[in-house]
Symmetry: D2
């Protein structure tokens, strides 16, 4: 592919070997490896309802509660195997499902051809078995204004030219996960668009190296360690990248455009995205939580203490893990089938889980630091380079040893640092939308009137008690 | 039935009219009423796998994830309709399911006839459509000793005589819910029994008014209000009773005995009970939570304030409700089928939910008191009798009024008192076992070794780090 | 005194012997007893700055950090001794201090004589060593309206006639603690009054049995138990009453009026009240927490388990106790001296403590129920009357025994019920004002502009970033 | 001074200019600057009780509640000014106070001369106005063993030779804060030493560049950014260093030795350290919390949103800040005077505060990330180098802008990253000892027997209920 990814001012020629991207490639590659293992095969692959062939689950349409359960399990598994996020696939997976339902509705109501186009492209994508990321978040500018009210019209991605064979778009999608590992990028619209924002209501798919697209990797905690030798960046087989995608008049042919101007459907598209995403993300958080539990228990042992000493804390960590996992399962199972065939999880439970996902892992990480001791709390130990220094490295190893060698203890401490205050920390607070946004949905999905009627019936209250109308 | 229930030293002649029991009867009666309503029919009834007839779900065998979902929904519904617990049915429901699997295993391994007996009895019970409660908790005595170590052998229920036609038992089951509303009582064994405790490993069913059984109702918060006129006991259509069952040499014929001496199966029986019980109880807590949300929102309005003022708090209450509900669904769905046909929910998730059930409702109640103001916090208002006093009642009504009449406001305050610090509060902390017990299961069901391996693989640590064996 | 207190429609002739009031009398009497004990003398008494004589601290002016520390300790002590609230003194104590400063300011700025009057009255009150409660909360009516906007002008207490020798007031003060135990009642104004509400801006003192004042006791959780024999109301030496005071044109002579129409000072008066009250209440909650810790540890022992089993929980309970106590100390110490001589605690820390006081005890109570088991969670055991029944009482005692007699175990369970879901629960959520009100103060007392400047200085940001003015 | 500090294998020649150390120097230098400002002078300086001269508070003996209040305020101030820890002074400050009392006791009971020596040295140190850090934490090795049981005797610092003019020590002190900024280092003993560990019971002071001492800087989150140009390490005027001090037979002359072999006093020394340290650290956490509040509010504005939108969250952050601050004040004030003149804060409240300090800031940080959005959660934005890239930097600035320039927004995001998941995060969990250790103290300082007696008295229980003796 055409090199178009930059970091620290440098153009990355080969993403598979460059230290800034190779860990995320490695993590995504584990998906392919694991899919070949009998124990994981049913989680990572499924049967295409389009072709009947075995395909990656990441390129499938979710059609049943069982598919959602497998989705949640898949996310937990991949965090188990990489210790962190492989977001270069799951966002894309969610995006095609969200647009599967949305294009179906648009076509039925507006007589467009989006669903057909999506189907054609998807069949081909399944066949090619591509890695495809998804991109939602616009730069947005001032959060109190709509796209068309901004001082600069480009602050959300929009159409700047309609050609007879396609459209030309300008703007940026930001904080996009796993782009370096992807072949293609699936673009979702933002939400809350009105008629005057219709040029912003767009969805399409592009090759990662499409012309006029420039990709800048964000810098993340401790990312320069990834450019060093040694174990200070303790995990080689997984890693996150998050990118700013700069669209400088990118052309997209019609057959890859799945929404263009249907602003009233942009909210729907995002809703269709949110329900499965905020359900399944509970698997992610549980999966990293498993690793955090393991790392904390291992550190306890390395310090000479049985993990039984920390039973209360480890139990609480498990409760946190299983809560986001379980709520993901519940939201997934209690959904309903969209006419297009997509199974859409329960919105209320999905959003409740988003709040847990934005809260519980913080406690899990705190408890891991509590168990692990000062050495791991902020990674408070000498660098790998120092530990191997010919002059004083031997002394450092001597003083780092406890119930294991100093080097093993250093590695575990670095792993906990990575998981709790380093590059391994995924953006679970705002990834897939903010908890405040989720709370709005929760509020909107709670039937207070019904609950009030339950209370009135029980206490035998007949009086009508209203407050809304009389206040302005 | 023979009157054998006492409270405050008085023998209750007619449980349907006596103020100490009529509210629980009323609550349980709502089950039958609701089962006739089309919207609730599929939740409250199902098809017998024994006869193919429509039966109460409370007398059914849970055979699938869908059955477990219906179970959780049923519990939520009944709390919605009664504002509190109708425990006179769900414990029995769980008990027959637990013993369905347990008797199947005992028979297969020991050549006994328990499962057959249970099947025969159940078919008949379904046909008779009985209300049947379940009873687990023994008096127990000193918690640091086993039944046979106690100073008094009767501190757990046990066989004192084996007759050729049945057994005779002595002891007590305590804190048993809804006995007054039941036709029969299903007895479960306790747990952790060894060979020397085999006389304690018993399960059977009895009519509620069996000879030599005396039932003493416990006194609960504010229960004397139930003996008064007016709305200080604000709910007439639901209520809890909890009893001490005193067995003074009760005879049980063999055909109603489902375990007798198989001490190694008592743990299994309790495990089979716990999994569905601790899953479904999440529905209970959510169901009462719905009413608490409604009561708090109504109180806000009564005080002249829109519930929007308390959006953050109401959202948190909803999160709590949906978390116990969702975790119940997840535990229910992720179970597995026992060879006897019973669907047994996931033990880990069930026990995680037990911890939530013992924690989250306390926050929900606190938030309700927070929203409602001082009047409802501890029910801080004059009695109904005073509010209707001919001398000063008019003044009290005048000063109680806000955005509704003083009387409606008084009723809402009493409802919140009842739900948060009164007779409506169910024993969700220890009902179905303590949260500390649940944490033991969670700990036992967490695969720390696997988690440690995940961590070691990620950080590329080969050294074997053990701590157990070297410590004594 | 003239009998003017009613409960359940009955006029209470003698408050010291009537079951509805004698426990609160007993609790308040413990103050006098304890003041005579050498170990408590310095906490409960101090030297009058008016006369130099030894007086009850409850009738003193708080003049130093040391006085505030003693205040917090006094509140903790009285909860230790009574298990609950002796609110019939501390509100009055706070009220005279609040008005000491407020009248000083009014006199200085308006040329009135209130401070002088207060001084004269206080000297006499100290000499008579009276028990005096304080009363703030008005009936209020619709919370979205001011007193003068209400449909009924009496919904807050107000002047209805100015006579040359005094004023006549009408309205109600509600949820007033410990009135039955008091000789006099000190009335505080409400807050937020504007010019049109000036008739509501009043403060005065009255004898408890003043003409045209009718007092109705509220009914509280489990209060009818107090009318029974036995230990179901487990505590005889302490108890709460809360009253509705109905003022039907009560006359107050000028010398007992300390504010009358100075509406701009009503906010100040309340602020002067809040700072010490919300500081010292941390002592109350800690004091009850001590008893809850003791009761939970005792129940553990009674159940046969060492309290060490529950170390984690008991430690958390202690943390909660010491947090409200410590924050009370800190708020008290960091105050400043008002020109009138009153020491006024730190408003920010006082209000932070109010939030803790409305939150932490709920966790403490939950943990007590967790430790104590099902028997205490909702007081799930037979009544004292049943336990002593000649027919089956012996059996109940037998089955209630564990690591102590059944009767002791029953008493401990009732104590925990009383402390956590019974009459002993004080109104710490809304007493002294709501936590939401406290949060408003916290917000108003946080200097966000300064914090923003700290952040900008650190990150070397010069740009002026404002958002207020450009939004409407 | 002799260069003896290494990082990344490099010997740091000049700590004031080397990027690895200059920020911590800068932070500590702010202490001197601020001491000259009238508004901060009384916080940062005080009068020597030895000489009557104005000295740095960091070199003073804490003699009163007012001194402790100033100590807590000083810590809050320095976090306000540096955004992070200036631990190179406060640990030393606490250490001299702890040893002031301890040496006094040893001398009185053992006839030694330590207190005199300390006095002489301190007078001189005050005169020289040195910066002096303190060092407690030993390497320790296997946490289940005492120093003398370790496989290597050097795992805690110990005397290896007694000379007539001094002692020679070997071992390591690890995770020592601010060493690079210090002139001298004050060594405290560890704790729990028995007779066989007496060579470990040592306290002394050394110049930072003493012979045979090698110092290795730990690597902390994002520390390589400090070696770059630009604002990715957003704060220039503060920063943490933490070191491993390797003692390879360091000689200390007798006049600088303050404990040597008095193993029974090592626990006392540590206790004397803990009480003021765990009190005052509440000021640190509050001080960083102030900055976090400011940064979050600023980010909200930068995003175009008023901080009022996040009122609930900001209020909670303030509650957290004021709680650790207030508890520090309370612990400080409620202490008692040691015969040596040192004021020793309350142990129970100090340790309660340690638990808050290890818990509440995690919530504060989480809330900051919640308010700030995805850009700040994990610092998810391009590097400063990329933002200034001649090819695409202009585009990045365009897309980063919101309600302020892109560059300001980037700086704020980096500041929040630094404060919540970067180099600015201080080790408040384990600094000054672990929260689990604090809980042991809390437990030991709670008088359960007294609490049980309170409960028994209230419920009128005479029976003696014991459990300890009968269990083994």
């Amino acid at each position: 592919m055409r090199p178009n990814i930059y970091k620290f001012g440098e153009l990355i020629k080969d993403v598979t070997t460059h230290p800034a991207t190779k860990r995320t490639i490695e993590g995504h590659a584990q998906i392919f490896d694991a899919a070949l293992q009998p124990e994981y095969k049913d989680i990572l692959t499924t049967t295409s309802h389009l072709t009947g062939e075995r395909i990656s689950r990441y390129l499938s349409i979710v059609q049943s509660p069982e598919d959602m359960i497998a989705n949640v399990r898949m996310k937990r598994l991949m965090f188990n195997l990489t210790g962190t996020c492989t977001g270069g696939r799951c966002v894309g997976f969610n995006a095609i499902n969200a647009m599967w339902a949305t294009t179906y509705d648009i076509d039925h109501e507006c007589g467009t051809q989006y669903h057909k186009r999506l189907q054609t492209w998807l069949k081909d994508a399944q066949h090619r078995d591509i890695t495809m990321t998804g991109a939602l978040t616009d730069a947005k500018g001032d959060r109190s204004k709509t796209p068309s009210q901004q001082c600069d019209p480009d602050l959300s991605l929009h159409v700047v030219e309609h050609r007879k064979d396609g459209i030309v778009v300008r703007g940026a999608k930001v904080m996009i996960c796993g782009v370096a590992a992807s072949n293609e990028i699936f673009i979702m619209p933002g939400t809350g668009y009105k008629e005057e924002d219709k040029d912003y209501a767009i969805s399409f798919v592009i090759p990662r190296d499409v012309n006029n697209l420039t990709i800048i990797e964000t810098r993340r905690p401790n990312d320069t360690r990834e450019q060093e030798e040694g174990y200070d960046a303790p995990v080689d087989i997984g890693g996150i990248t998050q990118s700013y995608l700069l669209f400088e008049d990118v052309f997209i042919p019609h057959e890859h455009v799945f929404m263009c101007g249907e602003c009233t459907y942009s909210m729907k598209a995002v809703m269709n995205f949110i329900a499965p995403y905020r359900a399944a993300i509970g698997g992610c958080v549980a999966g990293q939580g498993d690793v955090i539990v393991g790392a904390a228990a291992l550190m306890a042992r390395a310090n000479g203490l049985s993990e039984k000493v920390f039973k209360e804390k480890l139990t609480q960590m498990t409760i946190n893990n299983e809560t986001t996992f379980g709520m993901g399962i519940a939201a997934g199972v209690l959904g309903k089938k969209h006419p297009s065939g997509v199974w859409i999880p329960d919105t209320l439970l999905s959003n409740v889980n988003k709040v847990h996902v934005a809260t519980l892992p913080y406690e899990t990480k705190r408890l891991a630091q509590d168990i692990a001791g000062g050495i791991a709390e902020t990674g408070c130990l000498p660098s790998c380079k120092d530990i191997n220094d010919p002059r004083y490295g031997k002394l450092l190893k001597k003083y780092l040893q406890a119930n294991c060698s100093g080097e093993s203890r250093a590695k575990i401490a670095r792993l906990i640092e990575w998981l709790t205050i380093g590059s391994g920390v995924p953006g679970c607070m705002h990834g897939g939308g903010s908890p405040d946004g989720a709370k709005l949905f929760i509020n909107a999905n709670t039937d207070f009137a019904r609950d009030i009627e339950l209370a009135k019936r029980l206490a035998n209250i007949k009086e009508d008690i209203q407050v809304e109308q009389k206040k302005k």
